[in-house]
Subunit: 348 residues, 2 copies
């Protein structure tokens, strides 16, 4: 929010309905199921034989879920949309439509909202999703972003949290902990900037582009869902890693009434994540297990799918599902079993 | 929020996931299309042959859309759900599922949230809707309620804003302006209470129960949608009256590229609304045309349906659709034509 020299249009100049049509005019409907978009009492979505509908929603509040002092508004819009797409992929589905509601306080101008919507539009283009509704209203206080995403999945093929079975393999995509380390970096540079008192302070992000991008512009694993489908694999359970691997593993164990073992030395971690943890003197495995906001996929598959999984790039087997009596534990490098505890980021 | 002598449970005692399961445990899934509800990455909704899906969403912010000083939390929950159902009915559809996201500031306890959810549950029971998702998070500031409603409608039978045709009859259900007058009453009594400085001040609402109820506990016109279906009527256009009749008429005229004439002496107004307007020295017709929050249905039907409409109790014909060149106007009791202007309540 440092674009003070740019054009400034007060929201009141457009009014509520003018604002909505201004912000949404460059969102074409591209999905065949999007029958009616923004501008009526409700959007109309066609149904397709053999499909079930998926619905997920996220409420993002300034000061709790994001900080506009160091998150560019376009990135914020992009991320707000993508994290919803991620929830649909995590059901083994495809996101098709979103609605976006914004609550904006007086310090926001039309140009600020244009940036948020530019980010949402880019996300919609990248993932083939249509904006079909929502509203914009004043907020007494901070920025509020509420997004609902509608998707579809082949009947009976949705991957819930509750289907993991004993001996299933536990798989995770990409690498973990980078988004959390990116957040630590942003917070450190922000506090250095504040202490320096220099308005032209330039943070030093060189060599740390990956962890920054993971925090500011995460991607949802559309590619993995497509590869699983091609390989004929339906995960027995699946979630996206938003609160942290520990928290998600416990969700799956509780919902499926199973236990699990994951191996410390199998947790995928990028070298930038490791370097940043070293720099900040933080425990790397703790960051990877509890960091959150990675939006990677955590899923389980039957043992019989092991060879197929081996062939999919970007997926790593990190452990296996056990009887419930054995509980959820991490096996350390020296063979010890440490109970997994949820230390995931929580909004309270 | 004056229940300070009641039991107090801090939200942090339950944690985010504990809180959600505590608040949602008494919401059974009753619709056959609700395949999976709260507790996964997304809800799963079955599709039905011959149906289209409707999606609407509303973001309600404390201090902008409601004031907890004089709105009981249970009523707030009820109304927040019902206004979404109303949007689905306004498409000629049936609401089936909702998701509810809450942002709550530190001054709210678990018991406060239970009241909000009790209101939502009552609304869900009354209208046959299932709660299937949502989340709850901390808010730095006020209470935030974001509800998305999913409904369905027979393929091709959705009533948009854009289908009104010249000579169509304009109909409205119930009566208008009462919710607005109820709000005026609440605000007056609240300011009298503040001025009196008496903590035991009892507002005087006798003889004003109807307008109060219209403001605090509005109902959606499920009954009318059912009667229209029984009568074989598909409105050419329809909206619910949330921002005020003037504003909604202009939406239909703009979307349908038509004009309209409505007769001042046909606008349905309850006598409590009239008495309150008199007491507050406000123009009654202005209140009825621009008040908003009535959640009645405004719709148009072909002339040929006139006899059928005459037989439906609770529906009143107030005018007709014209060529676009004639604009939108109200015909006063003395035969003058006054252009209709949007003075509806706006959130900016």
């Amino acid at each position: 929010m440092s674009e003070s020299k740019e054009k400034v249009t007060e929201i009141s100049q457009l009014g509520e309905f003018g604002l909505i049509s201004h912000l949404t005019k460059e969102f074409p409907l591209t999905n065949s199921t999007s029958l009616l978009g923004v501008g009526d009492d409700a959007a109309i979505i066609d149904t397709t034989e053999g499909k079930e509908i998926l619905v997920t929603t996220d409420l993002l509040l300034e000061g709790i879920h994001f900080d506009v002092r160091y998150v560019p508004l376009k990135h914020l819009g992009y991320k707000a949309a993508v994290v919803n797409f991620s929830d649909i992929y995590a059901m083994n589905g495809t996101p098709r439509q979103i609605t976006v509601s914004l609550g904006v306080s007086a310090r926001f101008t039309v140009e600020h909202l244009e940036q948020i919507y530019a980010g949402i539009r880019l996300a919609c283009e990248n993932y083939g999703v249509d904006l079909v509704g929502g509203d914009t209203s004043a907020s007494r206080t901070g920025l509020v972003i509420s997004i609902t995403c509608i998707g579809d999945v082949d009947k009976g093929k949705a991957a819930k949290r509750s289907g993991a079975k004993e001996t299933d393999l536990i798989c995770v995509t990409g690498d973990l902990g980078a988004a959390y380390m990116g957040l630590q970096l942003l917070e450190r540079e922000n506090s250095v900037a504040a202490q320096s008192g220099d308005p032209d302070f330039q943070p030093d992000f060189s060599g740390k582009e990956y962890i920054l991008q993971r925090q500011l512009k995460p991607e949802a694993r559309k590619d993995i869902i497509e590869k699983l489908k091609e390989a004929g694999i339906v995960p027995t359970s699946m979630m996206d890693v938003s609160d942290g691997l520990s928290s998600e593993l416990l969700h799956i164990c509780k919902s499926s009434d199973v236990g699990c073992r994951v191996y410390e030395d199998r947790i995928p971690i990028d070298y930038q994540t490791a370097i940043m943890a070293e720099e900040l003197n933080m425990n790397l495995v703790t960051a990877a297990m509890n960091g959150g906001e990675d939006y990677e996929l955590l899923f389980t598959v039957p043992l019989i799918d092991k060879d197929k999984i081996d062939k999919i790039e970007g997926v790593k087997m990190i452990g296996y599902i056990t009887k419930p009596e054995l509980g959820a534990a991490m096996v350390t490098r020296d063979g010890q079993e440490l109970p997994i505890k949820a230390q995931g980021w929580t909004a309270f």
